[in-house]
Amino acid sequence: MTTIVDAAAATTAARRTPPPSPRRNRFRSAVVRYRWLFLLMLPGIVYFALFRFWPMYGAQIAFRNYIPFLGIEGSEWVGLGHFEDFFTNPDFPRLLTNTLIIAALSLFVAFPLTIVLALLLNELRLTILRRTVQTLVYIPHFLSWTVVVSLTGLLFAAGSGPLWTLLNGVFGGDTNFLTDPTWFRPLIVLQEIWKNTGWGTIIFLAALAGVNQEQYEAAIIDGAGRWDRVWHITLPSIRPTIVIMLILQTGQILNTGFEQIYLMSNALNRSVADVFDTYVYFVGIQQGAYSYSTAVGLAKAIVGLILIFGTNWLAKRFNQQGIF
């Protein structure tokens, strides 16, 4: 029975494509057919192979006691030892809390503000005004964190900064914003908003440009006000973009931006400023504990990956489009 069916299948296959291995052949013909696309893809493939996949070979030092002199292969294998050390570290709960709070603030405060700003820009009818404002809000993105932090330092310097003088004068206090732990997170989020909100609007503005204008015309005829139009047409139209940006953002949740936080931290606010990224710097770079800090980085990456899959799954559950 089987033989007959097999033989039949084989003859059918043979009739369509003579050589014995149809799958490989299909691939080959696809390569020939789409050779230009493959050629276009090649630099990307080479890039990923060289700079993304090949270095992963080195990630194994997270499971070894890496000593550069002995080489990767020659260093002692310790399995999950470094991961255990990290998760049982007395600093771990504090690092996790600080990281998550800062990440949550940027996700729930800075991210929605990007959408709000994009909507506001979209509502501007005077093109020249919109273009000017757009360009102006992009500028801070191109300043490095060192510059942003130095500016903050000048503005809030205890005893001489103009904002320090103004705020303490108006509210009658003697707060040193740069060292007071309660002010650390607000300052971090404000800097983040100032620097990146404008830049973040680009993708949403592109999505907004694609909204079908006829819908608005129809809505106006039906008597919808501006607010109704934003709520019932604009936002639903860019919802897929928002969801995708949200998923990507969640994957980055444990990356709190080393430079900004390291530069903003000092002896007096370290209790709230210590995050995974600064920890990796102190342990890995300053002390040369390469294996340990690689283990921490790897753990972070795995959590990020799980979060991406998690949000993607959630997005699909709530009938939205995921990214994969």
Binding site: L42, I67, P68, A157, A158, G159, N266, L268, R270, V283
Partner: protein
């Protein structure tokens, strides 16, 4: 048609280039471990540089040094900011130099040395075969060792650098003498804050200027200096045969009270916890603050800056004193006395004969002639000698800067610094230079060395930075009034629990073995 065929080829070529760059060419076989017992026909050294550009391979200093050494010396210069990172890359690769400048005893160096990656030089240096490598200060060689084993020839630095720098004109306006005790310093800080030292009728000055860095423990910060003056010991202190961390002593608490009082009374800049150290000189120059506790060379720097501002009276602004007498006696804070060392990797220098050859060359590089080449340059070209001082040719300043910013980094000077000092600009500068030497000699007698400088504890290697941060941060929080004594105790408790107790146990075990 043609381009289509070429594109993938070009990509492949680029890829293989990148690959071979990763692997690190092993073309230097003849430089190092060429044969079993063959003598080295050149010496490769890896060293950091601070200069704007690294010396070329045909640099006149390099040529002269090669002549002196008898073999060509090839230096691979690495910018100082990348040096630590590059050290590890080089150690992991095949292209290891014959001699490496190691900037500190960090985890990767210690583990490499203990795995047999560097020659143990303890007995070789003690043999007396290399007279220029015999240390003038054996304590410093001991401090630079790893638990008593010497893995490199250290690069000597001044042992006494900490000093108090004051506005001399303010002292004079107020009729005050330079301080001799910590109480004097407090009184001067008070007067500089409250008694209008610049006589402009406004309350616009404060006493002491302290920046954010150095601010940690054991970093020669102003706080460390005050604590040593109070008799707290230098990082570690021997109490009844046991080593205890300085911050567990009652004298440390006493010093912290003193510092807290300075801060709480407003005798220090209000942004002391965040001030950028690059701007440390500015309040002093602008007449906002009048006291800096830092290295002696900052006094010379400030004199130069005042010279630019006011060449007529530049000698009337800066007063310099050394250690201050504390309530419990007279103690001075020394440096570790070295800035890294030159270590010899075993993978390139393989036999005792080759090691002997390398050490002989290093011995020659420590001769007076070589020191002058490395620290001053070429006599008759970029400098001339007058009254035993070097006078530099201003038209060749770039070359001089390159010499001092690069070649001087190879200098070990362990048997004493023999090169010329620059000729002082005036009598005042000469006096200042002499004063610095006098203060160094005086403070050296009271120097409190870190008894654990040579000891490398495993736990400290892996957790040291966090452990130091716990105490360093708690100190600043306490003097800023953010935490009280209980908070300070809690921080020390946290230090103990995070591995501090283990460090203490390990250090004491090593300390017992050392004697």
């Amino acid at each position: 048609m043609k381009t289509r065929r070429l594109a993938p080829l070009a990509i492949l070529a680029a890829g293989s280039l990148a690959l071979s760059a990763c692997g690190g060419g092993s073309s230097d076989a003849e430089g190092g471990g060429g044969g079993e017992a063959q003598a080295l026909d050149s010496l490769t050294i890896m060293a950091p540089y601070f200069a704007a550009v690294a010396p070329e391979s045909d640099d006149p200093v390099g040529t002269a040094l090669s002549e002196l050494a008898g073999v060509p010396i090839e230096v691979s210069w690495v910018p100082n900011s990348d040096y630590g990172e590059r050290t590890n890359v080089v150690l992991a690769g095949d292209d290891i130099p014959d001699v490496m400048v190691i900037t500190g005893k960090d985890q990767s160096f210690v583990s490499t040395a203990e795995a047999g990656g560097f020659w143990d030089l303890t007995d070789h240096l003690a043999s007396g075969k290399y007279p220029n490598l015999v240390a003038e200060n054996p304590e410093v060689q001991e401090a630079a060792s790893v638990n008593g084993r010497v893995y490199g020839v250290f690069r000597m630095r001044d042992v006494i650098r900490t000093s108090v720098i004051l506005r001399a004109d303010w002292l004079e306006n107020l009729g005050l003498e330079p301080p001799e005790t910590t109480d004097d310093l407090r009184e001067i800080a008070r007067a500089f804050t409250e008694d209008d030292p610049d006589g402009n009728g406004k309350d616009d000055t404060y006493g002491m200027i302290a920046p954010q860095w150095p601010g940690g423990i054991g970093t020669s910060s102003p706080y460390d200096a005050i604590e040593v003056w109070h008799g707290a010991g230098n990082v570690w202190r021997e109490v009844g045969g046991e080593l205890v961390p300085a911050f567990t002593t009652p004298e440390w608490r006493e010093a912290l009270e003193y510092e807290r009082d300075l801060v709480q009374s407003g005798y220090i800049n209000p942004d002391f916890a965040t001030m950028d150290p690059a701007t440390w000189n500015e309040p002093f120059l602008n007449g906002q603050g009048g006291i800096i506790i830092d290295v002696q060379s900052r006094a010379a720097q400030l004199v130069d800056l005042f010279y630019e501002k006011d060449p007529e009276n530049y000698d009337k602004y800066v007063a310099l004193v050394g250690q201050l007498e504390g309530p419990n006696g007279t103690y001075a804070l020394p440096t570790s006395g070295y800035a890294g060392f030159l270590a010899i990797p075993r993978s390139t220098v393989q036999t005792e004969e080759q090691l002997d050859q390398v050490l002989s060359i290093l011995d020659k590089l420590n001769s007076t002639k070589a020191q002058i080449l490395m620290n001053n340059g070429i006599e008759g070209d970029n400098f001339t000698v007058e009254d035993g001082y070097a006078v530099y040719d201003e038209s060749k300043q770039d070359f001089t800067d390159q010499v001092t910013g690069a070649w001087a980094q190879l200098g070990m000077n362990v048997a004493g610094y023999e090169a010329y000092s620059p000729k002082p600009r005036s009598e005042y500068d000469e006096e200042l230079a002499q004063l610095r030497l006098d203060l160094q000699a005086e403070d050296l007698q009271n120097a409190v060395f870190n008894p654990a400088a040579a000891l490398v504890s495993k736990t400290y290697m892996s957790n040291g930075t966090q452990l130091d941060n716990i105490i360093g941060d708690a100190r600043i929080q306490y003097i800023a009034g953010q935490i009280d004594e209980a908070g300070l105790d809690a921080a020390i408790q946290r230090w103990r629990a995070s591995g501090g107790d283990q460090v203490t146990a390990e250090i004491n075990e090593l300390y017992a073995q050392l004697d």
